[in-house]
C-alpha cells in the first residue's frame, strides 16, 4: 500500500514542497497567516514564542506525565502558528459531529432499555453484552433528559480538501478543552491585531454552555441545583483542567473524600456541615466511582454513589456505562447507528477498521503489520499502539505476539496521510501532522464549540499527536462566513 501525498492545510494538496512555506500560493484560508508570518522577523518570532511559554508556565498550565519514574509537571508545547478552518469546512464538521453524538446517545439509551438495534439485527448482541464497559446496572434506569453523553470529544483527521475521518469518539472523560481555551487566551494576548483583522469565531462561552447543560439535567424538582466537579485529585494528569473548568463555571471541585451518600442523596462536607450535591461532572472512570459497586479498594470514589444515581438522587455527567460506545470495536458500528436511529447517511466517514475477532481480517492484519496502525480496543492516550510504518522489526514482532495472544483485544486501521500544518521547529517552519478534537455539549441544546483542540505531532514525520506522547497544540480558528483571504 502506498500512502498518498500529504495534504498541507496552508499549501494544499501538493504539501509544503521544496520551497517550504515561503513561496507559492497558499490556500485562501491561510492568506492572513502567510501575511502575518512574512511580516515577523526571526527575532520577533523567538520573542513571542518565549513569551507564550512564560505565560503558560505562569498560569500553571501543566500536564503530569506518567511512567518516567516520578511523574513530572510538564508544559504542553504550544505552537504559535494557528490552524485555520473555513466556515464552510466547519459546517460540515459541526453537522457531522452533532449527527454522531445524536446517534450514539440514542444507541446508549436503546441498549439500556429496549435494545431495538439488537433485535433488528443491525449490531451483533455479543458486541454489546460481552463488552466489559457495558453496565448491566444501567438497564431500565431513566436519566434526566435521556442525556448520556453530556460532553463528547470527537477525534478527527484530515486527508484532503474535503476529506475528514473520525478516528474515535471520546465519550467517557474527554479532556483537552482547557488547552483549547487557554491557547486562544494566549494567542489573543500575544497577537491582538490578528484577531482584530480577522473574523474568528470565539470559543470562550464553552464553560457557560457546559454549566447551563449540567444545571439542566439536575434531578427533577430542584430549582437551584448544586453542581460539583469530581476529580481524582492533584496527581491526575488532567488535574489542571479540572481546576480550570470548575473555576470557570464557579462550581465546587470535589474529591471522593469530600462526598458521602445518605438516603440515596449525595452530600459534600463543608465547614458548616453537609450540603447536598445535585449534579456531578465526574472526571473519574466508571470503575472508580463507587467502591461498593465497582473496584472495591478504590479510594477515589464515593461509597453508595451508584445506588444514589440509580434512585435519581443525583445526576452524573457523563452517565455511567457510556464507555461501551467509545471503544474501538464499537466504533465500527457508529455509521450503522446513524442509519438506524436517524435514518441519515453519515456526514463524517469512519476509517476502514479491521476487527481482529474475524479470522480473515486477523490474518490480513498479521500479514500487513508494517503498513497498519494497530490499537487496543479499550486503549486511550496513544499508549500501547503500533504505528507500523514507524516501527522497527523488533517492535512489530513484539506486537505480533501480543495480537496472537488475544486478537479480540485489537483493531487495525490503514495508516492515514494526516494533513500537515506549518509549525515552528528548531530549523524554522516545517510541516507537522495534526488532528482535531472538537467538543460537543449536549443537554437542553446541542452545541459544538467552533474549533476544538488541534494536536500536532512535533517529531518530523511522526503521526502520534497525543500530549502524553510529546505532542503539542495549536490555536484553532474557525473563520466566520465570508472571511478568508485578506
Amino acid at each position: 500500500m502506498t500512502i498518498k501525498a500529504t495534504f498541507d492545510e496552508m499549501m494544499g494538496p501538493g504539501g509544503a514542497g521544496e520551497g517550504g512555506y515561503a513561496e507559492g500560493p497558499v490556500r485562501d484560508a491561510y492568506g492572513a497567516v502567510r501575511h502575518w508570518l512574512d511580516a515577523m522577523s526571526q527575532r520577533q518570532v523567538s520573542a513571542k514564542r518565549k513569551e507564550a511559554e512564560t505565560l503558560f508556565r505562569r498560569m500553571g498550565i501543566t500536564f503530569l506525565v506518567y511512567g518516567t519514574g516520578e511523574s513530572t509537571e510538564r508544559l504542553i508545547p504550544f505552537d504559535i502558528i494557528p490552524r485555520v478552518i473555513t466556515a464552510d469546512e466547519w459546517t460540515m464538521i459541526e453537522n457531522g459531529c452533532l449527527q454522531r453524538v445524536r446517534a450514539i446517545n440514542a444507541f446508549l439509551s436503546d441498549i439500556y432499555h429496549d435494545q431495538e438495534i439488537i433485535a433488528a439485527g443491525r449490531i451483533p448482541s455479543a458486541d454489546v453484552y460481552a463488552n466489559p464497559r457495558y453496565r448491566p446496572e444501567m438497564i431500565g434506569i431513566d436519566i434526566p433528559g435521556n442525556t448520556y453523553i453530556h460532553i463528547t470529544g470527537i477525534d478527527l483527521v484530515r486527508t484532503a480538501e474535503r476529506e475528514f475521518y473520525v478516528l474515535e469518539d471520546n465519550l467517557r472523560n474527554p479532556s483537552g478543552v482547557s488547552y483549547m481555551l487557554e491557547n486562544r487566551e494566549v494567542m489573543m494576548r500575544l497577537f491582538p491585531q490578528l484577531f482584530a483583522d480577522n473574523s474568528i469565531a470565539p470559543v470562550n462561552d464553552y464553560p457557560a454552555n457546559l454549566l447551563r447543560n449540567l444545571q439542566a439535567v439536575a434531578p427533577p424538582g430542584i430549582s437551584r441545583p448544586t453542581v460539583a466537579l469530581l476529580t481524582p485529585g492533584i496527581f491526575n494528569s488532567a488535574y489542571f483542567e479540572h481546576v480550570f473548568l470548575a473555576d470557570e463555571m464557579g462550581i465546587e471541585l470535589v474529591e471522593g473524600q469530600d462526598l458521602f451518600v445518605l438516603d440515596d442523596q449525595v452530600f459534600m462536607r463543608t465547614t458548616h456541615g453537609p450540603v447536598r450535591v445535585d449534579v456531578i461532572y465526574r472526571r473519574i472512570d466508571d470503575n472508580y466511582l463507587d467502591p461498593l459497586a465497582f473496584i472495591p479498594d478504590s479510594l477515589l470514589g464515593v461509597p453508595g454513589l451508584l445506588s444514589a444515581y440509580r434512585a435519581g438522587g443525583v445526576t452524573l455527567a457523563n452517565a455511567i456505562g457510556t464507555g461501551v460506545a467509545d471503544d474501538k470495536a464499537m466504533y465500527i458500528h457508529v455509521p450503522e447507528m446513524i442509519r438506524f436511529y436517524l435514518g441519515e447517511e453519515p456526514i463524517l466517514a469512519n476509517v476502514r477498521t479491521h476487527d481482529l475477532r474475524h479470522a480473515d481480517e486477523c490474518a490480513y492484519v498479521l500479514d500487513h503489520l508494517g503498513e497498519l496502525v494497530v490499537k487496543e480496543v479499550g486503549g486511550a492516550g496513544g499508549y500501547g499502539m503500533l504505528v507500523g510504518p514507524a516501527a522497527s522489526r523488533d517492535e512489530i514482532e513484539c506486537y505480533r505476539a501480543r495480537i496472537l495472544d488475544d486478537p479480540a483485544n485489537f483493531i487495525a486501521q490503514p495508516t492515514l496521510a494526516l494533513s500537515t500544518c506549518p509549525t515552528f521547529v528548531d530549523a524554522g517552519i516545517a510541516p507537522r501532522h495534526v488532528d482535531l478534537r472538537p467538543f460537543v455539549l449536549s443537554g437542553t441544546t446541542q452545541t459544538v464549540v467552533p474549533g476544538g483542540l488541534t494536536r500536532v505531532a512535533l517529531g518530523e514525520g511522526s503521526l502520534v499527536v497525543n500530549t502524553s506522547q510529546g505532542g503539542g497544540t495549536k490555536d484553532t480558528w474557525v473563520l466566520r462566513d465570508g472571511a478568508g483571504a485578506p
Binding site: 508556565r57 505562569r58 498560569m59 500553571g60 492533584i234 489542571f240 481546576v243 480550570f244 470548575a246 473555576d247 465546587e252 471541585l253 470535589v254 474529591e255 473524600q257 469530600d258 459534600m268 462536607r269 463543608t270 465547614t271 458548616h272 456541615g273 450540603v275
Partner: protein, 318 residues
Amino acid sequence: MTVLSRSADHLYWMARQVERAENTARILEVSNRMALLPSGGTQGGASGSEWHAVLQITGGAQGFHDRFSGTTAEAVTRYMTLDPENPSSIYSTVRAARENARAERVALTTEMWEALNSTWLEIDALTPARLASRGHRNFFDWIKERSHLFRGTAIATMLRDERYHFLRLGTFIERADNTARILDVKYHVLLPHGVEVGSAIDYMQWGALLRSVSAYRTYYHAYKEPIAPAHVADMLIFNDAFPRSLHGCVDDVLELLGFIGGPRGAEARRLAGELHARLHFGKTESVFKQGLHEFLTDFITDNNALSKEIQSAYLVAE
C-alpha cells in the same frame, strides 16, 4: 455560604505558609542586623547567639545540628533560606504554599495564583551562590514583597466569602505566632551575653527588632520617644493600631471567627475571646513582671491551641 472543609483547610494553610515565609525572612533579617552590631557573634569567633536564636525560634535546631557542626551565619542562612530538606526553610514553605494553592486553584483568583506561582518558579531556580551574589538583604526584601503582593492580590481580588475568611484567618494566626517569636529573639540573644539593659547595644538590638517588623519609623510616630524596651514590647504586644501586634492580629482573628460563625465554632470563639481579653486588658508592666519570655511562650501555646480548635471545628472533614 459554606465551603468544602478540605478547601478551607488548604486556604488556611496556604495563607499561613506565605506569612511564615515572610516572617522567616524577617527573623533572618533581624539576626543579620544584630550580628553586625559590635557584640554580635560573627565577630572574633564568638558563638553567634543570633544564629542560635534563629534556630530556636523557628524550631529548626534539631534538624540543623543533625547535619551541620558549626552554627555559622552561612550555615544557618543557607539552612533557613534555600535548603529543600529543611521543612521550615523559606524554600520549603513557599513550596508548601504553592502545593496548597495548586490543590485550590478554583478558590484562588488568577492574580493570586500567578503571584504565588511565579514566586515559586523564581525561588526554585535560585542557587545559594546566586542568592549570595544578589545579597541576602535583597532576598529578604524580595520575599517580603512577594508576600505583600500575594496578600494584596487576595484583598483586592477575592470574593468576600468564607474562603476569604479562612485565608485571612490563616494570615493572622500565623502572624501573631511570628510576632511573638520575633520579639522572643531579643530574649534568646540577650541571655547568653547578658548585655547590660539600657546600654547602647541593648538600644540597637531593640532597634533592629523594630526594623524587622517594619516598625522602626512607626515606633517614633506612635511613641515620640527614644526606643525603650517597655514601649517596644507595648507596641508589638498591646498596641492594636499596629497591624503586626499580637493585639492587632487577635482582633482580626476574633472578627473573622464571628463572620464564619455557626455552632461548630463556639469553642474557637471562646478561646479567641480569652486570648483577646488578655491583650485587650493586659499591661506592659505585668508582662515584664511575669517575664517577657514566659508571657510570649504562653501566648504561642494558646495561639496554637486556638489554631487546633479552628481545624477540628471547621477544617477536618468528619
